[in-house]
Amino acid sequence: MKSAVIVFPGSNREGDVVRALKMAGSQVEKVWHAETELPKGTDLVVLPGGFSYGDYLRCGAIAGRAAAMDAVRAHAARGGLVLGICNGFQILCESGLLPGILMRNANLKFICHRQFLRVERNDTAFTRNYAKGQAIDVCVAHGEGNYTADEETLKRLEGEGLVAFRYADAQGHITQDANRNGSMNSIAGIYSEKLNVLGMMPHPENLVESLVGGTDGRGLFESLVSSFPKAA
């Protein structure tokens, strides 16, 4: 599998996701936001975490309008895979690739902590290595992760099974306490209609080694890599 990690001014978790992708067996190339084309043969585009353009104006707003995003949109329209993590999720919402928006956390503070997620479905390219309903232990680190959408959108997301992950407790129960940023329906991540674009606030890329916290994030990257035939 070939991954392209788009780097915006102010991205800061691109190294973390490159490491996780490589560990899972992907080839990875970093792509500067001003590029108008993706590297040939890109299977997966990753929009990494960080504070693109300082998160000034609205998180992800300025990056969502970068030149490279046209190429990402075209890639997604062709059915190519796109993963946006944290700031990447915000960029996907701002660029119209995913519905809704990430607002300030309910307590108005940046929060960084370990967090369980419930895997809502395991029949996508992103989650096939997890079990449906599994609680995975990852972490969050964001100030604006409070997922908000209008009623209609929410209904559609729920109705079409487009919610990817929800904040949960260690047993996979959806509780108010587990939803610390105040997201609607405890939403931590959502898919596009065709299930080829995933945006999520938590950081699976920071949970890929037992020495550094745990390995529950690996499943996501391994799912992606196993979706593609091994390069010869």
């Binding site: 001014p9 978790r13 504070f51 300082g54 960084c112 080694e209 916290g213």
Partner: protein
């Protein structure tokens, strides 16, 4: 001939913080009356912050060398060799006053400044720490200050993309009018790619990089004088606003430029901005500097030479480039969307010449600006010695269990989770030990090595006995690094004291420094960088003497480490180190008995080293995975923290005869560690310790869901945790 448009009156001199004799010294040095720009320049160069005029002679007593020290104090940050061709570059710096005025921006720019110090030397920052002291919780300003400072530290570091992995938070009424915000940054570079401030070569271009210059931070008193604010309709705030986004770009652009081979010398613009960075580069290289201020990128219109030379706008750098490389450098900076301008050149005149709008605004001897700064041997008096308190004389006002519950939920001993959850402590994916333990552990690149990082000092000890307190601060940092399995290598210090012009506080400074020096020598733990912050007082009330120590240690194999959490039931708990039940200046005496007196615990540095080396060896051999040092609150608090961290209880059965139980449990004797190990291994360890004369006793065993103190006093771990976790969030929500 240089034009003098503004008459230099004694009032103007005073507003610039220069004493009459200092001004006279300056006039004699240049042989004429200075221009207003020159007065501004010298006031910046000769203030306490830049010149270290009150502290310099005492700092000379600190040990700064070791075989692994590549660069000691005197550069932007200290540099130590950590093997494999890698260097660790680190420093700590205060932003106390700005944070009191505007907590968010003050703290944020403090973080920005220290990160810049580290990447100026070619290092990529890999970790940040922060040492914070606030006034008493009931003071009307405290909550607002805590909230702003913590948000500001997080706001800057999180956006910049460095994990904030450790620090310290405390409260005391002595900081009511003067909080402490000290930020530490740690970076990595290759040993053969370290950059320094020393300019070389005549006629080389001096370039300005980063953000534009505004009127930020120009000294308030001078701004108020009529000449400078007739153009502004409102009183201009002198607060600097941080732009972490610009700093992140500056980091990437600087590192890219350094790789290109274009950089001869580099200096960040910190305090006194363009003035001190330019003077430093020239003076270190024995060169003159000529600047043309018409070329300086400005954010505001009509800025004068005076303002440009004193502006403290953030996120700016000055470099000397190899001639002919300007184009290439400019392309890199423009790619990152940053300003780039050639604003001057090096000369062989040894003069610091400032031109603006076709006029010479300043023409000063460059070396003398630094070398001839006043140096003071200020009068000082030794702090009066306090009596040693006999533990038997201290009555326990409540049971040990009640006292422990009270302490775990007290402002100083409670969990600081509310703080460090606002810091991204996981970014970069190398944080092996998160905040909450003795020292943070950060993996170096992809391993196998790691760094252990901590910040420490016990201000109440320093006040009661500056010498012992200074020793203790270093010893505790050394101990915290040891407790996670690190080999302590070097420290940075941030010396926060009250006015040096009062002999008592100068005495505290002198005493603490002696203690720090002695401990550093005994523990092979040299000082490689630091910062002095004096005049921390309001209305004549000084802060507690607070020399914060930032320690760095090395783990050869980061997977072999220890943490404070009890990990299993049925493990033996062993206390390493001698216990007399030292209650003088203890947390127990202060927070349980309501007394702040007595001599603080002395530190036997030879014992300290032997005990620590023994514990580190146990960790490194893989025998021990659970270690916690005993500091504030003694054995009892350490046990509680171990139980809470691991969700495993313990029963303490053994304690020495002839010592009141509360003195045994809460005494703060130094040089001690608690470890928990498999019972089979315990016997070996006790034997080994006995063989080399290290005090070691078994206190009890882990297990159950309560911590049971002698006399069958049980407290459930859940209850301990509830108290421990509640205080700070409740307080910040206005409930406590």
């Amino acid at each position: 001939m240089i034009r003098n448009d503004v008459a230099i009156t004694p009032e103007l001199v005073k507003e610039h913080g220069l004493k009459p004799d200092e001004y006279e010294r300056f006039v004699n040095l240049i042989g004429r009356e200075p221009t207003i720009t020159e007065l501004g320049i010298v006031s910046a160069m000769w203030n306490e912050h830049c010149s270290y005029k009150s502290s310099r002679i005492h700092l000379r007593g600190l040990p700064t060398k070791a075989p692994w020290v590549i660069q000691g104090p005197g550069e932007n940050a200290g540099v130590i060799d950590i093997g494999d061709g890698l260097a660790c570059i680190f420093k700590m710096e205060s932003h106390n006053h700005p944070s009191f005025i505007e907590p968010y921006q003050g703290a944020a720019t403090g973080v920005g400044g220290i990160l810049r110090d580290v990447f100026t030397m070619g290092a990529r920052p890999i970790a940040a720490l922060n040492f914070l002291r606030f006034g008493e919780p009931s003071h009307p300003k405290t909550r607002h200050l805590v909230s702003g400072v913590v948000a500001g530290i997080g706001g800057y570091g999180n956006s910049f993309g460095v994990p904030t992995v450790g620090g310290s938070v405390g409260f005391d009424k002595r900081y009511n009018g003067n909080i402490l915000v000290n930020a530490m940054a740690v970076g990595l570079a290759r040993t053969d790619e370290i950059f320094y401030a020393k300019a070389t070569g005549v006629g080389n271009p001096i370039v300005y990089l980063g953000s534009k210059t505004g009127r930020d931070g120009i000294h308030g008193a001078t701004m108020a004088s009529a000449e400078f604010d007739e153009s502004s309709e409102e009183k201009r705030p002198t607060v600097q606003v941080g732009d972490p986004f610009a700093e992140k770009l500056l980091l990437e652009a600087c590192l890219e430029l350094m790789k290109s081979g274009a950089v001869i010398a580099i200096q960040d613009m910190g305090a006194a901005g363009l003035t001190s960075s330019a003077v430093e580069m020239g003076a270190k290289g024995n060169l003159g500097i000529e600047l043309d201020l018409d070329k300086v990128p400005c954010r505001e219109e009509g800025m004068t030479a005076y303002e440009m030379m004193l502006s403290e706008s953030q996120e700016r750098m000055l470099m000397v480039l190899k001639p002919g490389m300007e184009r290439q450098a400019e392309a890199i900076f423009h790619k990152w969307g940053l300003d780039f301008a050639v604003i001057g050149k090096t000369t062989d005149t040894l003069r610091f010449v400032i031109k603006h709008q076709g006029e010479v605004k300043a023409d000063l001897p460059i070396k003398e600006l630094g070398d001839e700064a006043p140096v003071y041997d200020r009068p000082w008096v030794e702090s009066p010695k306090q009596p040693v308190i006999d533990p038997a004389s201290v009555k326990a006002p409540m049971s040990e269990a009640e006292a422990l519950l009270k302490l775990v939920g007290s402002p100083d001993q409670c969990s600081k989770r509310w703080v460090w959850e606002q810091y991204d402590h996981l970014i970069l994916g190398n944080t092996v030990q998160v905040p909450g333990g003795d020292a943070a552990i950060v993996r170096i690149e992809d391993g196998p090595k790691g760094l252990a990082l901590t910040t420490d000092v016990t201000p109440r000890y320093c006040e009661a006995d500056p010498f012992e307190g200074g020793k203790q601060a270093v010893a505790e940092a050394w101990r915290n690094i040891t407790a996670v399995g690190g080999l302590p290598l070097a420290i940075t210090d941030n010396l926060n004291f009250a006015s040096p012009e009062r002999p008592e506080s100068m005495g505290q400074f002198v005493g603490c420094l002696k203690g720090i020096g002695e401990a550093c020598r005994a523990l092979d733990f040299p000082v490689v960088s630091g910062n002095v912050s004096l005049y921390n007082e309001t209305n004549g009330q000084g802060i507690l003497p607070t020399p914060a120590i930032g320690g760095v240690g090395l783990l050869d194999d980061v997977t072999v480490n220890a943490s404070i959490a009890f990990k299993a039931e049925g493990e033996a708990i062993i206390l390493i180190g001698a216990t007399q039940g030292w209650l003088g200046q203890s947390i127990y005496l202060r927070d349980v008995c309501g007394r702040e007196d007595g001599a603080p615990p002395p530190v036997d540095l030879a014992q300290e080293k032997r005990n620590g080396d023994f514990v580190r060896q146990l960790i490194r051999s893989g025998q021990v995975k659970t270690v916690h040092d005993c500091s504030d609150g003694g054995i009892a608090l350490a046990l509680a923290e171990m139980a809470m961290a691991g969700n495993v209880g313990a029963e303490i059965t053994a304690y020495p005869d002839g010592l009141p139980l509360h003195a045994f449990l809460f005494g703060e004797d130094q040089g001690r560690y608690l470890i928990a190990v498999d019972e089979d291994v315990a016997a070996d360890i006790l034997y080994e310790a006995g063989a080399v004369g290290i005090p070691a006793v078994t206190l009890g065993i882990t297990g159950g869901d309560s911590l049971i103190l002698p006399g069958r006093q049980a407290i459930s771990v859940r209850q301990l945790k509830a108290a421990h976790e509640a205080w700070l969030p409740d307080y910040m929500a206005g409930k406590a």
